[in-house]
Amino acid sequence: MSIRALRGFTDAGRRDLAFAGLTLLLFAGVTLAFPAFATPRNLAGLLDDTAILIMLALGQMLVILVRGIDLSVAANLALCGMLAALFNRAYPGAGVLPAVLLATGAGTLLGATNGLLVWKLRLPPIVVTLGTMSVFRGVIYLLSKGAWVNENEMSRAFLAFPRGEFLGLSTLSWLAIGVAAIFFVALRGTRLARDLYAAGGNPEAATYSGIDAGRMQFIAYAICGAIAGLAGCLWVSRFAVAYTDIALGFELQVIAACLIGGVAIAGGIGSATGVVLGCLFIGIIRSSLPLVGISPFWQMFINGAVILVAVLLSARRRTATRPVLESRA
């Protein structure tokens, strides 16, 4: 592994620690002012609300780590959610698992399509995923013929799936915790993760050491797609509706969560801890706004301000970045 990647790890570690402190401070502040905020019930709700964002942001992080970007995640989510909903409507007795597997499998294929275009044709990731985003949305319309799949068309088991409770937390929350745990362990301990960091940190050096940087991009897109597919099924059953425009524009929120969580758009830097904290930070702000008496319409503005502060701080620290976007010229 290169020195650069090693430094990336320690830098990211220090940043995660500082950001964890900041998130705790925010949490403590809100709790001090409004003791009702820290009730187990409220916190479980907060996690449930943030679960899908956490999963998607972790997938997106992999793509950004290898110098890509996936603008099509929300469209992928919506398409796979629609597939799951249509499947459930057609075979209500089939149970939940086939629907979940169908959505996850379809998501993997869609993600792999992005990955292939980026890997084999070396197309710019932003153009590829901008294109597939439009195509996916259009396909949802064709599949559903523009109609909604409503709550009364979904089977009871399908609707109950994300709402099941275990130790006070919803199934949805547990799934997010599971995905986060896998990422946390895998990003530290596996060879694949090291290769991903290396390919993103310095693709040329990675190539010389026998890592196919393009293949790493492909893998990252496929994993990101799989997560988007799974999230699509969860989204549809949680909100009990599927239509063409679900999660419209959510891709930019997901990318924003990554940026707040310290993932460098230049690639090679980012951690599961940071991304989860970034999502929780957004979640805490979102759920405390009504308590503080600020209109929820301020949420987006606050997110924007947080993103800008985060990227300005990390830009100051950064010494060398991706040459295409280098602005020291």
């Binding site: 153009v127 259009g138 295409v324």
Partner: protein, 311 residues
């Protein structure tokens, strides 16, 4: 070599355009009609106006994702001013000024803050759109004076709308600026190799800042036209336009890697976009179906040359 290639790309776009004309006029008897075609231009003029400066920005190797959010911010600013009884000329100035200020924020983040433009403008996009929501919430502003409607609903002569006239004038100005002046050459140079341009004495950061300010100003101009055409402001105004406008620019043959592109290409792409939207509308095909076509086209545009180069 590159010139020949650009020419080929633009002639392909022109062919697509001719094909669209033939197709739509054979499919709908209402298509080839001066008034119909004049209506059709409203589908793209506002977006195309932003595509012009954005093309320069992308040729210079940067990007601006906040353009649609700037429209929302400028529109809200005008809405608030109009509620105070401000007159039409001042309203337009407020729209343009808000756009300029927002563009300067982007420029400062990229040149002074050293933040990559895609990250900086994702941040400001959230910030600007967020400010529009924070101010308006779920309210609508529509206290615009009657004369304000001239920009978006007026006609210069016959079927030529004010919007179309403004677009044509600026398309010519931008074309001459990019392809016939020293500054235009510098923009290509910056996109092709910023470091070499710096060593060749080009004030790279000054160009970048100016291009962001210009893109912001044109987003402000688009906000004036769009608000005037709709006669109302919601915080969700022009939602999702950023990606459509970027698609327009890339479809026009501008390279996302910077250093390549032409204004004629962007103008042709804008026409192709506008006609497809309108033609499908005439045939009662929903716009979302067209997004499959534009999305695939966008990928093909970059995939074909990549495929050819690989062989």
């Amino acid at each position: 070599m590159t010139v020949a290639r650009l020419l080929r790309w633009e002639s392909m776009l022109a062919l697509v355009l001719v094909f669209e004309f033939v197709l739509f006029s054979s499919l709908s008897p209402y298509f080839l009609n001066v008034d119909t075609l004049s209506d059709a231009t409203f589908n793209f003029t506002e977006r195309a106006l932003i595509a012009l400066p954005l093309a320069l920005l992308i040729i210079a190797g940067e990007i601006d994702i906040s353009v649609a959010a700037i429209i929302a911010l400028a529109s809200v600013a005008m809405g608030l001013a109009a509620a105070q009884g401000v007159g039409t000329p001042v309203l337009a100035a407020i729209g343009l000024g808000t756009g300029l200020a927002a563009g300067c924020v982007n420029g400062a983040l990229v040149t002074l803050g050293r933040v990559p433009s895609i990250v900086a403008t994702i941040g400001t996009m959230t910030l600007f759109r967020g400010a529009a929501y924070a101010v308006l919430g779920d309210r609508v502003m529509k206290d615009y004076p009657l004369s304000f409607a001239t920009f978006g609903q007026g006609y210069v002569a016959g079927p030529i709308s004010v919007e179309l006239a403004i677009f044509v004038v600026f398309a010519i100005v931008f074309g001459l600026f990019l392809h016939r002046t020293r500054w235009g050459r510098a923009i290509f140079a910056i996109g092709a190799n910023p470091t070499a341009s710096r060593f060749a004495g080009v004030a790279v950061d000054r160009y970048r800042f100016a291009l962001f300010a210009l893109t912001g100003t044109f987003s402000g101009l688009a906000a004036v036209l769009l608000t005037s055409r709709l006669g109302s402001t919601r915080p969700s105004i022009a939602q999702g336009w950023e990606l459509e406008i970027i698609s327009m620019v890339i479809l026009g043959g501008v390279s996302v890697w910077g250093g390549k592109g032409s204004i004629i290409g962007v103008v042709l792409a804008a026409l192709v976009f506008g006609l497809v939207t309108f033609g499908l509308g005439l045939m009662n095909i929903p716009g979302i179906v067209m997004s499959i076509f534009t999305g695939a086209l966008l990928i093909l545009v970059v995939a074909i040359p990549a495929w050819v180069n690989r062989r």
